[in-house]
């Protein structure tokens, strides 16, 4: 059974193309309803997110037919998107799905959302009984995703400024909830980081802005307290985390101010994030005490970069998981390949034996029960002994791609036609027993 994937993603196609050919949930449902009518499709699952649209198809349907189907579903001419497509078959297709599920193919390396999207896509297809022979493949893909997140740290470590601020604060303080954060400047950046902090459960957030109304607006959103911009020092003293993001052209927190504000508390852990360019906090502030950490935009970029490297290191482990799971999956697939050949061969022999035995016994009506049994045993033993060596050899070919052609030869030689339910295969490797 051939398994193929056709699709496009954020790496191969620009947004204008992706949005035109992506399928809405309704269109996906429609596809599943129609799939019985599309010839040579034994199973289909469509993964469609904002970053990718992919058709996973089992069966001997050709690429052209899949594209035709895609055209019908979206109403977009294939000429408009064919240049952005990738198309993988069998091993490459499995590997692709495993990489997608693990987040290796995502825009943000190692993100976890895609795993949920793959799972949803599979469930939806399953609800329409459209998955067919793809069940095992998706089962393994979800397993890869699960193992990825439990065994590696690929989804850890922030890759955006807002997350990095929260992450650094956690590295210093651990639990953020009992802390006080002071956000100076309620512009775009201040708002963004304020939201991140609030989302991480910081109990007490104070907001200051030169235009008081803007501070009030942000404070309301974050359930925070707005204070006057003149009261910086008092509020700095209370705060464990200080975020500055004003558009001031000169530092709003000078060393002298900080010295007064932190007087007697220089050993207390305190994290200042200066997200403004030009900087809002004089760099000398960091030297006021051993408990004071001051990070500016470049420092944060450095952290994000280090995190990216960390994720890339973890990606190597993920690749290893994918290789392991792919090997197990292919072995299972191989076993089911030869399984069906063995089954058909044995069935055929048994059919012949029964038919010929029946004819022979009809011509020998005078046999006693014991004689009949002897004849029957003799036929069975002949067949078994003849096939035994063949069965042993065929079993040993199961996982060997080079031997796939032998299996095909056995089929040709004995003219085996499968009467298993999934009789679509024309691939040399023969049938896949599916439905796990």
């Amino acid at each position: 059974m051939r398994i193929q994937v056709v699709g496009l993603n954020h790496q191969t196609a620009p947004l204008e193309v992706r949005e035109r050919v992506s399928l809405t949930p309704d269109q996906v449902r429609q596809a599943y309803e129609q799939y019985g009518e599309v010839p040579e499709v034994a199973g289909v699952t469509i993964v469609s997110t904002c970053n990718r649209t992919e058709f996973y198809v089992a069966g001997s349907i050709t690429l052209g037919e899949i594209l035709a189907w895609w055209e019908v579903l979206t109403g977009v001419d294939r000429g408009d998107f064919v240049d952005y497509l990738y198309w993988y078959q069998d091993q490459e297709a499995y590997q692709h799905l495993f990489r997608v599920a693990a987040g290796l193919d995502s825009m943000v390396l190692g993100e976890t959302q895609i795993l949920g999207q793959v799972k949803d896509a599979y469930r939806l297809a399953d609800a329409y009984k459209a998955v067919g022979p793809l069940h095992r493949l998706f089962h393994y893909a979800l397993r890869v995703g699960k193992r990825t997140h439990s065994e590696t740290g690929i989804s850890h470590n922030a890759l955006s400024m807002g997350h990095a601020v929260v992450e650094l604060a956690k590295k210093v303080f651990g639990d953020l909830r009992p802390l006080t954060a002071f956000v100076v400047g309620s512009g775009e950046m201040g708002t963004l980081v304020g939201r991140h902090l609030a989302a991480n459960g910081i109990e007490h957030i104070i907001v200051a802005n030169r235009t008081r109304a803007n501070a009030d607006r942000l404070a309301q959103e974050l359930k925070a307290t707005a204070v006057d911009f003149d009261l910086l020092e008092e509020n700095m003293r209370q705060a464990d985390i200080i975020v500055t993001a004003t558009s001031a052209s000169r530092p709003v927190i000078t060393q002298a101010m900080a010295r007064r504000a932190f007087k007697g508390q220089t050993q207390r852990l305190r994290f200042l994030f200066d997200l403004a360019v030009p900087r809002d906090v004089e760099p000398q502030v960091a030297k006021l005490g051993s408990g004071i950490f001051l990070y500016d935009v470049d420092d944060l970029k450095g952290i994000v970069e280090a995190n990216r490297l960390q994720r890339q290191k973890e990606a190597i482990k993920v690749e290893r998981i994918i290789r392991e799971e792919q090997a197990i999956f292919e072995e299972e697939l191989g076993a089911s390949n030869v399984g069906s050949v063995i089954r058909s061969l044995r069935d055929k022999a048994e059919r012949i034996r029964k038919a010929e035995l029946g004819k022979a016994l009809n011509r020998l009506p005078d046999l006693t029960d014991r004689e009949r049994a002897v004849v029957e045993d003799a036929t069975r033993l002949m067949i078994n002994k003849l096939l035994n060596d063949a069965m042993v050899s065929i079993r040993s070919w199961g996982n060997d791609d080079d031997k796939a052609v032998y299996i095909a030869a056995v089929r040709d030689l004995f003219r085996l036609t499968d009467d298993a339910p999934d009789t679509v295969s024309q691939a040399p490797a023969g049938e896949v027993a599916t439905e796990g």
């Binding site: 470590n157 590295k171 210093v172 651990g174 639990d175 207390r268 852990l269 450095g302 280090a306």
Partner: protein, 268 residues
């Protein structure tokens, strides 16, 4: 049998030391490190029990015995902590230190007289166990101090590499370190009082101004000083971490220096 157990302890702790340090770079090594610790710990436990049975007492009579016991206690505490909290990375610092202590102890003379405890009985035993437990708490505190300063260094330099990713939050390490000292100070206080009581029953004096006694008192004062500075002067973080590291140096001097320089009567 004893040789086998010693070799097993050696191999177990050595393997654990290497793997726990390696676990900082590659987390999967931690599991085999733990097996190594467990193997060494099990061997050492059997060793100590057989030793205790043959000598009819706590196996803490000589410096060799005592250090071996101390190592055993440290590893036991480490295993207990691992059960409760995921402080795997203590192992990366603690296990190598403890392994070295154990190794050094193996080269000390261990003519086990087996009589040390019988004379003064349980009080001496309790004195030694409490003092040992307090030292164990101080060593753990020092390990937290090391971890704190390493992680702090990366954060200050803004070049995050290893400890940034692996170690617990600074604030938490600071807290745990101070809790350990809070645990160790009263334990050592009780141990000192018991020691004086035992000394009275042996020599007739509570306090004889031996180097050992003075040094133990100094250690207690140093750690009590830590708590005072923390509570009164608000010492935290970096300073507190460096303080517990230096303070443990005093304990190490107590281990070897005093016991080798002044090998008089007394206990450890």
């Amino acid at each position: 049998m004893n040789l086998f157990l010693s070799v097993m302890t050696f191999v177990g702790y050595l393997m654990a030391s290497v793997l726990y340090v390696g676990a900082l770079y590659e987390g999967r090594r931690e599991r085999w490190g733990r097996y190594g610790v467990l193997a060494g710990w099990a061997a050492q436990t059997i060793f100590l029990i057989t030793d205790a049975i043959t000598t009819h007492g706590l196996p803490v009579a000589t410096l060799y015995d005592w250090m071996s016991f101390f190592v055993w206690l440290m590893i036991s505490l480490f295993l207990v902590i691992q059960l409760r909290r995921n402080y795997t990375h203590i192992g990366s610092f603690l296990v190598p230190i403890v392994f070295l202590l154990w190794l050094v102890s193996q080269f000390l003379a261990h003519h086990n007289k087996g009589t040390a405890l019988s004379a003064t009985g349980a009080w001496l035993g309790l004195h030694i166990v409490l003092a040992t437990a307090s030292y164990a708490a101080f060593l753990f505190a020092a390990v937290f101090g090391i971890m704190y300063t390493e992680k702090e260094r990366e954060l200050k330099n803004k070049r995050v590499r290893l400890f940034y990713y692996q170690l617990p939050p600074l604030d938490e390490m600071d807290e745990v370190g101070s809790h350990l000292v809070m645990l160790g100070v009263p334990l050592l206080a009780v141990a000192l009082v018991l020691g004086a009581y035992v000394a009275k029953s042996v020599s007739g004096y509570y306090w004889t101004w031996t180097a050992k006694e003075i040094w133990s008192l100094v250690i207690w004062l140093v750690y009590a000083g830590y708590l005072t500075l923390r509570w009164v002067a608000g010492w935290r973080g970096h300073r507190a971490a460096v303080y517990v590291m230096l303070a443990f140096l005093l304990v190490i001097i107590n281990f070897w220096g005093i016991n080798t320089l002044f090998p008089g009567a007394g206990y450890f």
